[in-house]
């Protein structure tokens, strides 16, 4: 999960058309994806999300027609073990449309969808170095549930980076059991 959002000032200034992300948007998202922290995935990755969780893939469009940002997520986990939850896979906002609270709005939508699906919590992964994003999520009510060691593999000889697994409990988790932090970090192979 990468968030290139610098600051989260007011959460209210959006003015946007929010709609389902479609394949054609892949041809228009360069202004968002040319950001260094936003990964452009292979086509199968996007299609997988569109085929399986289309409602979790939402794009924001400006009055001028430019894409402003998008969120891509999914629902997963076992209901029996109270691990059924919404997961944020990608969230990115174009530089021009930052500081409008758009990321917060998109997160809110994802949480609402997860509520409707009866999820216990919403979670996401973020680079421990991406302090801006970590702080933003904290403001949105997320807390660090655990650290995942060397979750992000680096390409150019730099060391692999740890991730925070951050969570926010949904209303179904009345006792907020899902967000009690783990005492020890885990390895990527230990997470499901």
């Amino acid at each position: 999960m990468r968030v290139p959002l610098p600051f989260l000032h007011e959460c209210t200034v959006k003015m946007t058309t929010l709609r389902a992300f479609t394949c054609d948007d892949l041809f228009k998202f360069n202004n968002i994806n040319l950001d260094p922290l936003t990964e452009t995935y292979g086509i199968p990755f996007y299609l997988q999300y569109l085929a399986h969780w289309p409602e979790y893939f939402i794009v924001a469009e400006a009055p001028g027609g430019e894409l402003m940002g998008y969120i891509m997520g999914k629902a997963e986990g076992s209901v029996a073990r109270e691990e059924w939850h919404g997961h944020v896979t990608a969230l990115s906002v174009a530089p021009e449309f930052r500081r409008l609270g758009l990321a917060a709005k998109l997160m809110e939508l994802l949480e609402e969808i997860s509520e409707r699906k009866g999820g216990f919590f919403v979670d996401l992964f973020v680079r421990v170095s991406n302090q801006v994003a970590v702080n933003m999520y904290k403001q949105l009510g997320y807390s660090v549930y655990r650290t995942v060691i060397e979750y992000y593999s680096a390409s150019n000889g730099e060391p692999d980076e740890d991730a925070y697994d951050m969570r926010k409990a949904l209303s179904r988790d009345t006792e907020k059991k899902s967000i009690i932090p783990l005492p020890h970090p885990v390895r990527p192979e230990d997470i499901e």
Binding site: P6, A20, D24, N33, E66, M68
Partner: protein, 881 residues
């Protein structure tokens, strides 16, 4: 798994063996889905449902009917057979109250919508079944809205829009649908019923007065807020003014004066980076004579310091900076930058640079992955430099622009806009080498190869960097080739998860990629490049053509239905609307690309034809081949040559229109330069020669006097034309005169055309030699036997020898030229160059950095071209008949 049709056979066998296996049957269904066998899918789905009566199986079958409808050539058949059948299948389940899942209702909706049964669709969405539509947010409302529009039920559309806006006064799409419905209702003279509800969605606000009141109420709510207000209502007011004005409604004045309103908007939101994109759309509401006044009013509100020594007043924090930047962007969008004279523009650049450098202090703690707050000043200044260059032709402006962008990149290493503009500038100046690193640092991947890959492929080859060009094509090709397999897999997944509406979407997406202009281009160029670099050097032309599977008779490019997936607005531009890329320019650009692609594709096929003709089946083999069902190839050289001639004529006609694109928009193709260099016509002549030689081969020697003359003449004209192209390459690529650097990238482009043409001439020569050699041998035999002189044929043979000798000397000439250029480029002392204009030492260093990159790139291009020419010259030496 590369042969999915075999998989279907496998599962067909499996279900025959175990007819009751749910697993095998569902695998069979998916195997059919992979290859798009919709009819068989329909049956397989039903069979499954009969074995195991689970709803999803039934609806797989229904969806397969919908797919038959979508893919049917005969649309009437879709409307009268497939879709009604699908509808009845769903209705049956509805009647039996067996509908379980949301996906099933979605599919029902899809069918009714495609049948144009909007009333019925509305009943479904608004009825009990519609309650299942819960996954997607506002799913029911969005569907209703779209149906109201289809049904032109403007009262409902109006009422629902208002309802949704009351809930979320920031959702732009509903302002649009509200205003649309408003004016439809006014035009229809709609009156609310005297009693009862206005319509099933509630209250309708159908008069201009009500609309103004509605927007103003939304505004009042925002104004009263303690927190920062929403932007939606403020922009909606401007939108309503625009629409009222377009209809000549005097009531627009009740909403206020656009200048004042936009001023207010700036006061509220000017410190947001998006303020420019918000206001940009409404600038046409201002009259031209108010532009300066508007900008001045905005500027007065921006808190700036007292002017510094250089006369520039600066902002004290990032919010003030963003406001000031927004005013600068708005000035540009209003055309005020363009209106300045040269001195004015230079002064503007000075100020923008001052703001840029001053603003860097606010971003000292920015990470490498973040942008600097003042980056956009740097980009604005670059745009003004480009304006100056375009107006005056003064190349110094481009050099300074390059320097400034290099400086910008040194402070903000992940600014994609800096990189994109640098790429464009370097390419326009003839240097491809620096582009490779810049582009790779953009980390463009996958679908981006299709949308911005043209930035790489447009110039790599034309600037003589064939190795890089080949690699760029490969990146893109790898992406396109995986598309087919990738998409099929997810079409199957969409069935599994019941995301039925995504299935046609995925199929359309796959087709959009398969029909991509860029795909056809890289496919063609990649093959041409391979041939230029290898054919008749390391391996024969025939082997090359065979190994790339090129079939010259076949035209497999979807010309009539090509998709232009290029992202032509990827470079940020704040230019006024009339200087932005227009739809017309977009379509011209596509036309031009198609013309050039056609030239290249025909050239490729003609070269392929040479390979096919070089080893025609011997008579005996030909018979055998005919027995095996392979018929001898008809003459393809001439028809292809005719097509090439026609395309070149069309190309010339296109260029007569003098279409210009915005600098930040699409680049022109190589077409104009190709025609001007004479390379196209020289290549046509070469293929023409091949056609004559083929004729000579087919006829009895005695009847060929005419064609022999044509051949000899062609040999001579070819040499003359090649020489003419070469003359257009002469001159200095990079020259330093009176402290100024001058480039002539056209010389490099012409040199590349020369090299490409020489390759074609080389292949034609080999083809000629292949035909003439046995002719000469048999003639000599006859001569010995009959002792009769056949003087005319001698013309062809001696003509060929003179021709190859002439080619040799052309090769030496061009190699000398390249050597000379390399020497003088290496000798240029850029370090000692004092740049004429006084600029700070830091700035000069960046300009020199750019100059050095340019020189290095020119040297690399020259070396690559020289190496290729040397290889061809060596091979040519041994070409004898």
């Amino acid at each position: 798994m590369h042969r999915p049709e075999l998989v279907t056979k496998l599962y067909e066998a499996a279900v025959r063996k175990v007819p009751s296996s749910e697993e095998y049957h569902s695998h069979l269904f998916m195997a059919y889905a992979r290859v798009g066998e919709y009819k068989k899918m329909q049956q397989a789905g039903m069979t499954l449902y009969k074995i195991v009566p689970k709803n999803p199986y039934y609806f797989w079958s229904v969806m397969s009917l919908v797919m038959q409808a979508i893919s049917a050539q005969d649309k009437k058949l879709s409307q009268t057979m497939f879709l009604p059948l699908a509808e009845r299948m769903v209705e049956k389940m509805v009647k039996e109250e067996k509908i379980e899942a949301e996906a099933e209702v979605q599919l029902y909706y899809m069918i009714l919508e495609r049948l144009g049964k909007y009333v019925e669709a509305l009943e479904v969405v608004r009825g009990q079944l519609g309650e299942k539509l819960t996954s997607e947010l506002q799913s029911r409302e969005n569907k209703c809205m779209s149906l109201y529009k289809q049904l032109e039920r403007w009262p409902e559309c109006n009422a629902l829009s208002c309802k949704l806006l009351l809930k979320n006064p920031d959702d732009w799409q509903f302002y649009m649908s509200y205003f649309d419905s408003l004016f439809h209702l006014i035009d229809q003279g709609w009156e609310p019923p005297s009693e009862g509800e206005h319509c099933s969605e509630g209250e309708v606000r159908s008069s201009v007065a009500q609309a103004i009141a509605f927007v103003e109420e939304r505004l009042a709510v925002e104004e009263a807020k303690e927190t920062r207000p929403l932007r939606g209502p403020f922009l909606a007011r401007l939108e309503l003014i625009r629409r009222l004005r377009a209809r000549g409604c005097p009531e627009e004045q009740e909403l206020g004066e656009p200048l004042e309103l936009m001023f207010q908007y700036f006061i509220k939101f000017g410190d947001k980076p998006c303020c420019i994109s918000d206001l940009k759309i409404y600038l046409d509401l201002l009259t031209t004579d108010h532009h300066v006044q508007f900008i001045n009013r905005l500027m007065e509100t921006v808190p700036l310091s007292e002017p510094q020594d250089d006369g520039v007043a600066l902002p004290g924090d990032t919010r003030a900076l963003q406001r000031h930047l927004c005013v600068a962007q708005l000035s540009r969008a209003l055309g005020l930058h363009h209106a300045l004279d040269t001195t004015g523009k230079l002064d503007l650049i000075r100020q923008l640079k001052s703001h840029y450098r001053h603003g860097l202090q606010f971003g000292k703690s920015c990470l490498k992955t973040e942008l600097q707050f003042s980056d956009m000043y740097c980009l604005l200044a670059s745009h003004v430099y480009i304006d100056l260059w375009a107006e005056t032709g003064d190349e110094t402006m481009l050099w300074q622009c390059l320097g400034l962008l290099e400086e910008g990149l040194s402070h903000s290493s992940s600014n994609a806009q800096f990189k994109l503009l640098l790429i464009l500038l370097f390419c326009r100046m003839g240097a491809f080498e620096p582009v490779v690193d810049l582009y790779s640092s953009l980390d463009a991947k996958h679908v981006q190869h299709d949308t911005i890959g043209f930035l790489l492929t447009r110039y790599a080859e034309s600037l003589g960097q064939f190795a890089a060009a080949s690699q760029s094509c490969n990146f893109s090709l790898r992406f396109f080739h995986s598309n087919q397999k990738d998409t099929s897999e997810y079409i199957i997944q969409a069935y599994k998860y019941g995301a039925f509406e995504k299935i046609p979407e995925f199929i359309a997406f796959r087709s959009r990629l398969n029909r991509s202009l860029h795909f056809a281009q890289v496919r063609t160029e990649r093959m041409l490049l391979d041939l230029f670099l290898e054919a008749d050097l390391s391996s024969s032309l025939e082997d090359n053509v065979k190994s790339m599977g090129l079939c010259p008779e076949e035209d497999d490019i979807p010309w009539t239905d090509m998709r232009d997936n290029r992202d032509l607005t990827v470079l940020t531009s704040w230019d006024p609307a009339d200087r932005q890329l227009s739809e017309e320019q977009r379509s011209f650009s596509l036309q031009e690309e198609l013309l050039w692609l056609k030239v290249r594709f025909l050239t490729l096929r003609l070269v392929g034809t040479l390979a096919v003709l070089s080893h025609p089946p011997t008579p005996r083999n030909a018979e055998k081949a005919a027995e095996n069902g392979v018929v001898a190839k008809p003459d393809i050289l001439r028809p292809l040559l005719d097509q090439l001639n026609t395309t070149l004529q069309n190309g010339a006609q296109f260029l007569e229109r003098g279409v210009q694109y915005p600098f930040l928009g699409p680049s022109p193709t190589r077409l104009a330069h190709a025609l001007a260099s004479g390379s196209c016509h020289c290549q046509v002549l070469a293929f023409q020669l091949a056609a004559y030689v083929q004729e000579l081969d087919a006829a009895a020697l005695e009847e060929t006097t005419e064609v022999q003359t044509q051949i000899s003449n062609s040999f001579k004209s070819l040499l003359i034309q090649l020489k003419e192209i070469l003359n257009k390459c002469k001159g200095d690529l990079l020259e330093v005169k009176e402290g100024q650097c001058k480039t002539q990238p056209t010389l490099l482009e012409n040199l590349v055309f020369f090299v490409e043409t020489v390759c074609v001439v080389h292949w034609v020569s080999c083809f000629c030699a292949g035909v003439l050699r046995p002719l000469k041998a048999s003639l000599q035999k006859r001569k010995k036997k009959k002792k009769e002189p056949i003087s005319a044929t001698m013309v062809v043979f001696s003509g060929f020898q003179e021709f190859t000798a002439g080619l040799q000397s052309l090769f030496s000439e061009v190699l000398d030229h390249i050597k000379g250029q390399e020497t003088s480029l290496t000798a240029l002392k850029l370090g000692e160059l004092t740049l004429e204009e006084v600029m700070p030492a830091g700035e000069e260093a960046f300009v020199k950095l750019a100059m050095d990159k340019l020189r290095s790139s020119y040297l690399r291009s020259l070396q690559e071209l020289g190496d290729l020419l040397k290889k061809r010259a060596d091979v040519l030496k041994s070409l004898k008949i």
